[in-house]
């Protein structure tokens, strides 16, 4: 690093500390004052206040349905507020049109990034500004130069002619940020920007965000991931049920308070200690390999334990899970269930051998969204809910459905409602119910709490611990290291297709695991 750059770095750190201390951030960039908004009978926002100061990174957190998205859409002018007002650049607005919001330097980067996958990068970046000028003819040279100027602002190197759809999610995000910068942004709102990013991409995104902060741009960072929020933000606003639950500086928060403000509930976080392990392993894997994906995987799983496998995206963790579930055919090596060697060439074989799988992508792989909750629960067991001549036994079916809705406390007034009417946590319970009804020995869960709110996450953890206590063997695959540490009694580290470490719970810290995962990258 050249000396001048280092001086600059030190300088800005001092400046930041100075800012924190003396409150140079005091000049506000956006104020939301006492805003109410309802949709029909549903009150989405109930007197919300929010202040974002110039040059600060402000985090907006809250569970699904707390009003985060509504608030963003009011700020960006997509929804109109019912009462209250917004202050932008010192001016008060009770009604704001999207174009006014943009003119005041507000830029929103939505979760889906609003990109055109079939167009090249430069058109994606410069498209909006061309539209704004109401030009009818396209001048590619001009587009290109606008785009080039925009990416240079954040030091982002990208092939201008690459198709947007071919870029990684992280690069797409940077394109979206560049696009926001063209329009002279003063406040950039990022709606859950880290959802689809790997750890490394997240840290590089954070670097970019801090760069933006140096230029005096304020960032409103929407997230419900605790560790990110602590790392990046200066100040904090938490919403709950359309009301302010907390506003203040990040330093005052800790994990327990955060969970409390988010949910209004106190949680007793305990690590998992297995009651009793079976003497013989229920699942043994030896020398399992899949061409170019993973090699020489060896481990055993005992009844009553929760085994964690953690690794980065692309480490082969998902493929390993799919292989154990019979969804991948080309594997080499031995798999033994209850000591008996089995061939898992089809998903059905795995299920017959007592292995179930809760997939990573609940919506596309785990659930039949438009179908009823009940049908979703019993689908794997449906062949057993018939009478002697293979006619459906509707009484049995109803009893089975009611049993699982009750056992897993699925919050629904009527199990014949569609699964789409449930929240993420309850949907995940439906997927769990589907497998539990089969009375399996082994359950493999891939990212069991991705996209699930804090309260449901806690509840799902309790369910899993209970299952382990009932002598089921569980494998939890997750890159949420705190989750793995809390939930599992044994942890395997997977890296580049190999298991590179095994730890008992308590022998390893979050920092050590993440160092292991990132080493050499």
């Amino acid at each position: 690093m050249p000396i001048s750059a280092r001086v600059f770095l030190i300088d800005t750190r001092v400046a930041q500390q100075y800012c924190h201390g003396k409150g140079v951030f005091m000049e506000s960039c956006l104020k939301v004052v006492d805003v109410y908004k309802s949709f029909g009978a549903v009150k989405a926002l109930n007197g919300i206040n929010l202040e974002i100061r110039k040059g600060e990174i402000h985090c907006l957190a809250g569970e699904n349905g707390c009003g985060k998205s509504t608030l963003i859409k009011i700020i960006s002018g997509i929804y109109q507020l019912d009462s209250g007002h917004i202050e932008l650049a010192g001016k008060q607005y009770t009604q704001i049109a999207p174009i006014e919001s943009i003119m005041n330097g507000v830029q929103v980067i939505y979760q889906d990034l609003s990109i055109f996958p079939n167009l090249p990068v430069f058109e994606n970046i410069a498209f909006n500004s061309e539209l704004a000028k109401k030009k009818k003819l396209v001048n590619r040279k001009e587009l290109r130069s606008i785009a080039q100027a925009a990416v240079e602002k954040i030091d982002f190197k990208v092939d201008m002619d690459a198709l947007m759809g071919d870029l990684s999610v992280a690069d797409k995000q940077l394109v979206a940020i560049s696009r926001a910068l063209i329009n002279d942004a003063k406040l950039i709102i990022m709606d859950e920007p880290t959802t689809a990013l790997t750890k490394r991409e997240v840290s590089s995104l954070f670097k970019t965000i801090r760069d933006l902060q140096q230029r005096g741009i304020s960032i409103l960072f929407v997230s419900h991931k605790l560790n990110e929020v602590f790392e990046i933000s200066d100040r904090f606003t938490i919403l709950r049920n359309g009301e302010n639950a907390y506003s203040g500086t990040t330093g005052e928060l800790d994990e327990n308070k955060f969970a409390y403000y988010m949910t209004g509930r106190e949680f007793a976080y305990e690590t998992f200690a297995p009651l009793k392990l079976s003497e013989k392993p229920v699942l043994e894997v030896s020398k399992l390999s899949l061409n170019n994906v993973f090699q020489d995987i060896n481990f055993s799983l005992y009844k009553g334990e929760i085994l964690g496998i953690t690794g980065l995206l692309g480490s082969g963790r998902t493929e390993l899970a799919l292989s154990l579930f019979g969804a991948v055919k080309e594997i080499d090596g031995d798999i033994r269930v209850n000591g008996k060697k089995v061939k898992l060439r089809k998903i059905r074989h795995a299920i017959q051998n007592g292995i179930g799988y809760v997939p990573e992508d609940r919506l596309s792989e785990g659930l039949f969204l438009q179908q009823s909750i009940g049908e979703n629960i019993i689908i794997s067991k449906i062949d057993q809910l018939t009478n002697k001549v293979k006619i459906l036994n509707k009484k049995l079916r109803k009893a089975e459905i009611e049993k699982w809705v009750k056992n897993l406390a699925i919050a629904t007034p009527n199990p014949s409602n569609a699964v789409t009417t449930l929240s993420g946590g309850n949907q995940q319970r439906v997927v769990l119910a589907k497998w539990l009804s089969r009375n399996l020995d082994v359950l493999i869960l891939n990212g069991p709490t991705v996209g699930v709110d804090i309260a449901s996450k806690y509840d799902i953890h309790q369910i899993l611990k209970k299952l382990a206590a009932e002598q089921m063997g569980l494998i939890v695959i997750s890159d949420d290291i705190p989750e793995i540490l809390r939930l599992c009694n044994r942890i395997l580290i997977m890296k580049d297709g190999r298991l590179t470490g095994e730890f008992q719970q308590g022998d390893v810290t979050e920092k050590e695991i993440s160092d292991l995962l990132l080493a050499g990258i």
């Binding site: 349905g65 792989e365 449906i382 007034p413």
Partner: protein
């Protein structure tokens, strides 16, 4: 079984009207009936009803096949060609095994034989369709369009493109014979098809699996369903229904030809969509499709009663109705989504 029927009958009637869409179809049917009764009193006569009852089974039964494939998330564009193939083959056999001057009782054995032959041919065609769609993985629209050409080609090769006629009169006499002087045999066949179909969809695991597969085939695979087997069974049933429709066509025209009923493909799609079967798969009710069949037959017969409206306009009317139904369906779907989304927000609170 008797218990089951009692237990469900009242519920069925209730369900029929609790489902808003089915109720609106009933209202639509009654409206057409009333309007036509006023404008053309000839419409509400026993004779007209009998003539309608002779017409709708052929495309009605065909629609049931299409309905099954659409519920699986696909489509079957080969129903008409399967019907023709089944009709041509059974006509050829009929000419061989039943003497020309036989009466109904003398021909009964032969008629049963050709029915079995037709259904076997349907089953074979369906297995081919199912194989193309599931094991090979061709999109159903392309796979069945291709097989449709193949089946039509076989028909042309067998017949040299000519009509197969001169059938023993006993066959169409049998199909139009009125049991107890009231119910024509074709109508009984139609009713049997309705019963079999409702049984399959509500009382067997096949029905559940079909609906689940139709709404998310990936999740079906991850739930351990034998996806390929369900798809093959679906296409097989679809083609069996088509071949039964072919038998009805054979009696209505008293002949068979490779290009009979070519306009039925569109008509069947129209019926199935009007009947409330979701084109993207996963949902469909037999009651809805039966109502749609009745409604379209009434519209068709009504058009017949106005000599000024030429038969040339018929495809235009069907096309327009199909588009309108799909547009309405789209909007009602959106409204439903909005309502359920609000419900979700509430339940989260």
């Amino acid at each position: 079984m008797n218990n089951v029927a009692k237990y469900s009958f009242k519920k069925r009637v209730n369900a029929l009207f609790s489902d808003g869409y089915i109720a609106s179809l009933v209202v639509l049917a009654i409206t057409i009936l009333v309007i036509m009764g006023i404008v053309k009193p000839r419409f509400v006569t026993v004779n007209n009803f009998f003539s309608m009852a002779n017409q709708f089974p052929e495309y009605g039964i065909m629609s049931f096949g299409l309905m099954l494939t659409m519920m699986s998330g696909g489509i079957d564009l080969s129903v008409v060609s399967v019907a023709n193939l089944a009709a041509i083959c059974s006509a050829k056999v009929l000419l061989e095994i039943v003497p020309h001057d036989a009466d109904i009782s003398g021909a009964l054995g032969g008629i049963l034989v050709i029915m079995l032959i037709a259904m076997a041919i349907g089953a074979l065609c369906g297995v081919l369709n199912g194989f193309l769609v599931s094991k090979i993985g061709i999109p159903p629209m392309l796979g069945t369009l291709g097989s449709s050409q193949l089946f039509t080609g076989i028909c042309i090769a067998i017949t040299q493109g000519k009509m197969v006629n001169g059938l023993p009169m006993a066959y169409s006499d049998f199909m139009t014979f009125r049991v107890f002087g009231v119910l024509p045999v074709v109508l009984i066949i139609f009713i049997l098809c309705v019963l079999v179909l409702s049984f399959l969809l509500t009382w067997t695991t096949f029905g559940s699996k079909l609906r689940m597969l139709g709404s998310n085939s990936k999740a079906a695979m991850f739930s351990g369903l034998k996806v390929d087997r369900v798809l093959i069974a679906t296409h097989m049933l679809a083609s069996i229904f088509a071949s039964i429709a072919g038998l009805v066509m054979l009696s209505n025209y008293n002949s068979a030809k490779a290009d009979y009923g070519t306009s039925y493909s569109l008509l069947c799609i129209l019926i199935v969509v009007l009947g409330g079967v979701r084109p993207s798969g996963g949902f469909g009710k037999v009651s809805g499709v039966v109502l749609a069949i009745v409604i379209l037959q009434m519209v068709s017969s009504s058009l017949n009663m106005f000599p000024t409206i030429s038969a040339f306009y018929r495809p235009l009317v069907w096309g327009a109705v199909l588009l309108v139904v799909m547009i309405l369906d789209y909007y009602s779907d959106q409204r439903k989504n909005k309502i359920s989304a609000k419900g979700a927000v509430k339940s989260e609170r």
